[in-house]
Each structure stands twice: as structure tokens, then as C-alpha cells.
Symmetry: C2
Subunit: 298 residues, 2 copies
């Protein structure tokens, strides 16, 4: 699944245009984390909102959809690709890298796993994600490659609850309690002593507070020793480290023609731009002005 | 929205092959209702599972998706089309009829509205449906055309809850209580005296019991006077009435070449056939044996 041979570490070119891909608006949490770390970069974001969610679909369909978005980003001049969608990173990273050609690709699964490695002292990790991500066991495989053990749990209701806006809501708290109780029970059965929980879906950071409270309530001592991590921050760190322009450039002449300082954020959606703007603002943490509609087929 | 000029009443040909379209498996509740009423018919069902859900998407996208499915059904020889998807019936019935050409089209919105008309004595009706169906006000318009008043409410969490299998579940009961309480409050504000609730999404019949219980609990007298109706039964009645072969044919020679009595049900899905089989069995109420994968683009 993970293609370590084509790591992002080999990238050292003069790239300024970073393509960010997600099935919807969730990847905006990753973009938000990158903005302060890469002030000189130009970002182009694609949300495949006409075909979301990916998390309930098959590997073949997810790969087909992700490849069409990635091809679009490369055509638009992206020189570095961030696959902010956990499901696409889990199921289609090889197809995405093939489609990207020479353009380096970073997926959120590898950064999430690396962050879990840095966080965990027991070596045991919990993962919550979409059904497709969990069924692929991409996180478990990536974590095993780093010497960690993992128990994964699909949480299909969390994305709809976030999109309904029920963030701090009794129903969401009860759903989290049910999912996390089952996950913890499975972890006990497997003989694990987890100290880290990976949020394996870009919607979940919006539920970080409720998730941390649910973990505390489920703990026998009323205080959880499990650290909640999301891959957005870790991904932003990795991108900044991999690229040579993570701080503002000193030589204006090096700015390439397509750099437009007054419009550094380009958003594309495959469905309603109005809905992308309104829902996306909550994920990006700042207003989204201009979104263009793009037809990627289907 | 409703195209009464091209009503199904004009249909009188020797059709045997009925095409049924839905964004996913929900339309199987409509197929289930048709089977005993149309024993001589051959059915071909398309579930556009690679692009579902439609209920959260825009009119343009829904129309594009629905049209590609309808064209496929016509190419496969469908002589009568049932649009079992409420969202597609609400937002794209005109585009669907254009794509269907001479093939008659029946949508579930018109049958649901007709059933509400037959049910209601107060003339006031409640409707629950997907976000897109409610935003289109297709039910309110159809009901108004029949002299009824309506209050509509989008219930985006119900489809994910049904697909999670949480049918008889405390979380689902609480979500229903919240949605229905708001709907009833809005109905009081509007000065309505509703006696009928339309289930405006093919997933909702699976929640009929919990919905009826929630209505009873929300009633001041502990017993609801609101009748819950779904369009599956009403649609099946309308199709049987419109077609001349609603009872088994007496003349075997009239069976056309494509009629295969041993395999009268043909299923097509645009995503995983395994998932269609497993999830679909719950909606059809009987095992689904053979499902073919079809690529409708996207």
C-alpha cells in the first residue's frame, strides 16, 4: 500500500504551487494547518463534492475518482500534491502516484502514522476512520511498518453528524460513547495498552473536544491517558520540511509567473460552489471567497 | 416541476419491462411493493451507488446523474420507468422525462402527494425528506396542486442511521424525536392541523415503526392522530393501474423474447456489487442474487 520508494524526501525543486485534494471540505483542516507554515506557497484545492463521500465506496471507484482529481491538479500546475483525504490515501495512493507522474505526493495516512509513532510510548494505537479506510487496514499496515500495534474502528455516523452541525450535541456525544466503548473493548480483547488515538478522517478534528471528553468519561479514573492526534498538523509539518520555500522568499525575482500574491488560494468543487463556501468556511476557519465549479466527469 | 401533460395515464402499450431507478438501494422498497402486483413484468433496477447520496447535492449534479441512469435503462429496453428516488423525482423529473423520450415516467413525488391527498381529512400534511428534496419544495408544490398545505423538514441523519443498521436504537429514536419535535413546532407556528406524514425518502419506510412511536410520544395524549404514509405502496398501485399486464398473462405466446421467467429481476449498481447485495437484501426483503456492475461515467 505505502510506496516508500517514492518518498517525498527526494523532492528539492523550486515548487511554489501546492495541490491539495479531498473528497469534500474535510481537507480544508489540512490546508488550514499548512497556511501559516508555507506563506510563500500558492495553494490549489479540489473538493470532489459531487461524488462524496468516498468512505462508503469501493477501492476501484475511489481510485477512479481520486485519479481524475489529481490529474486536474497536475494540469493546473501543481508541483507538490497533498492527498488530504484519508480514504483516498488509504485505498488509492499507488494509483494517485502513477497519475501524478513526477510530481511528489504526500498522503495523510503516512503522516498520521508517523505522528502516532512520535506520540506513543506503549506502542499501541487506536484508529477511527471511515468504513473504507478501516476495511483497507492502511493505518494498521503503516503503523505495523513503524513497529506499532493498532485496533481500528469505522465510525460512519461522524461525518453526517459534523455536516449536520451537531458538534457539541447530546446525540453526537452518545454516538461517540458507543463507538469508542466498542473500540476500547476490542483493544482490551486484543491485549493492547493504547496511549494514542488517531483521527483517521479529516472531519474528525472538528469533534476533537467531544472525543477527548468521551475518552475521559469512559476511563475508569475519569481522566484519559490516551492522546488524540490528527494528521492535519503532522501533514503540514512534513510538507513544510520537504519544501524549500516554507518561509517567505527573499528574492522576488524567483517568484514564478503563476504566483498571484493577492489570490493565493484557489478552490475548485465538483458540486455546488455555494455549499462548498458555506460548509468549507467552518473547516478552514476563515471565509472562503471564490470557488470555481469543475467537471471531472460523472 | 410536475409535468402533468406527460402523465402516465396515456400509456397503453404492451410493455413488460419496467425500469426502476434510485441513487442506491432505497428504491428496492418500491420494487418490493411492485413485485406481487406485477407478476408478469420483468424488472431492471439501477442503483447509482458510486455517486450516492443525491440528497445533499445540487440540482444540476442530480439531474446529470439521474439522466445517465435513465438513458441506461432505456437502452436496456425498459418500456416504463419508475423513478423510485425522491430526490431525483423532486429535482430532475423534467430532465428525466426528456431523456426517456417516448417511455412513460412515474416519479414517487406525484404518487406520494396523491396518497397524502387520499389520506388527509384536515388538508394539512407533514413531509420529511432529504435536504435536496426539501429545498426543492417539490412535495409542497405537488401537495398545493392537490389543495393541501404542507410543512417540510430535512432529516439528513436518517439515511446514515439506516445504513449503519441502527433501526431500533436509542440514538435513532432521539434523532427522530428532535427532527419531529421541530417539524411539529413549525407546523403549529404555521397554523396547520396535520393528520398525515409523508415519508419522502425511500430509506425512511425502514424507520416507520420508530417514527410512529416517536409521533405518539410527542403527542399530548400519548397517541398520535397522524397517519404515516410512504410512496412505495402508492407507487406500486399506480404502476399496476397504468399497465395492462398487472395480472399474469393467459396467452404465453405474448411473452416477448427478452422475458426470462427464471430471472425476472436484473440489478445494476455503479459501485461494489457485494455491498449492493448485502445492504439491498434488507430493503428488498428477500435475497438479491445477481448484481452487475455498470459504469455510467464518473
Amino acid at each position: 500500500m505505502m510506496d516508500v520508494a517514492r518518498s517525498t524526501e527526494t523532492f528539492a525543486g523550486p515548487a511554489r504551487k501546492i495541490g491539495v485534494f479531498d473528497s469534500g471540505v474535510g481537507g480544508l483542516t489540512v490546508l488550514q494547518a499548512m497556511l501559516p507554515r508555507l506563506p510563500a506557497a500558492e495553494f490549489i484545492y479540489v473538493g470532489d463534492t459531487a461524488r462524496l463521500p468516498y468512505g462508503s465506496k469501493s477501492r476501484a471507484t475511489i481510485a477512479r475518482y481520486a485519479v481524475s482529481s489529481v490529474r486536474f491538479l497536475v494540469e493546473q500546475g501543481a508541483e507538490f500534491l497533498v492527498i488530504a483525504c484519508n480514504t483516498a490515501s488509504a485505498l488509492a495512493i499507488d494509483e494517485i502516484r502513477d497519475a501524478a507522474g513526477a510530481v511528489p505526493v504526500l498522503g495523510v495516512i503516512e503522516t498520521g502514522a508517523a505522528e502516532a509513532k512520535a506520540s506513543s510510548t506503549t506502542g499501541d494505537v487506536l484508529v477511527i476512520a471511515t468504513a473504507a479506510t478501516v476495511e483497507s487496514h492502511a493505518y494498521a499496515k503503516a503503523l505495523r511498518g513503524l513497529g506499532l500495534r493498532a485496533v481500528e474502528r469505522a465510525c460512519p455516523l461522524l461525518v453526517p453528524l459534523v455536516e449536520e452541525g451537531w458538534i457539541d450535541h447530546p446525540v453526537t456525544n452518545e454516538v461517540l460513547r458507543i463507538y469508542l466503548l466498542e473500540l476500547l473493548a476490542e483493544s482490551v480483547e486484543a491485549g493492547l495498552d493504547p496511549d494514542t488515538l488517531v483521527l483517521g478522517c479529516t472531519h474528525y478534528p472538528l469533534l476533537r473536544g467531544p472525543i477527548e471528553r468521551a475518552l475521559a468519561e469512559l476511563s475508569p479514573v475519569g481522566q484519559s491517558s490516551i492522546r488524540v492526534i490528527d494528521s492535519a498538523e503532522a501533514t503540514a509539518e512534513r510538507v513544510a520540511a520537504a519544501l524549500p520555500f516554507s518561509s517567505p522568499p527573499n528574492i522576488p525575482g524567483q517568484i514564478t509567473a503563476h504566483t498571484t500574491p493577492s489570490a493565493p488560494l484557489l478552490f475548485f468543487a465538483t458540486d455546488s460552489v455555494a455549499k462548498f463556501r458555506s460548509l468549507g468556511t467552518r473547516f478552514l476557519g476563515q471565509p472562503i471567497e471564490h470557488v470555481a465549479l469543475v467537471d471531472l466527469g460523472g
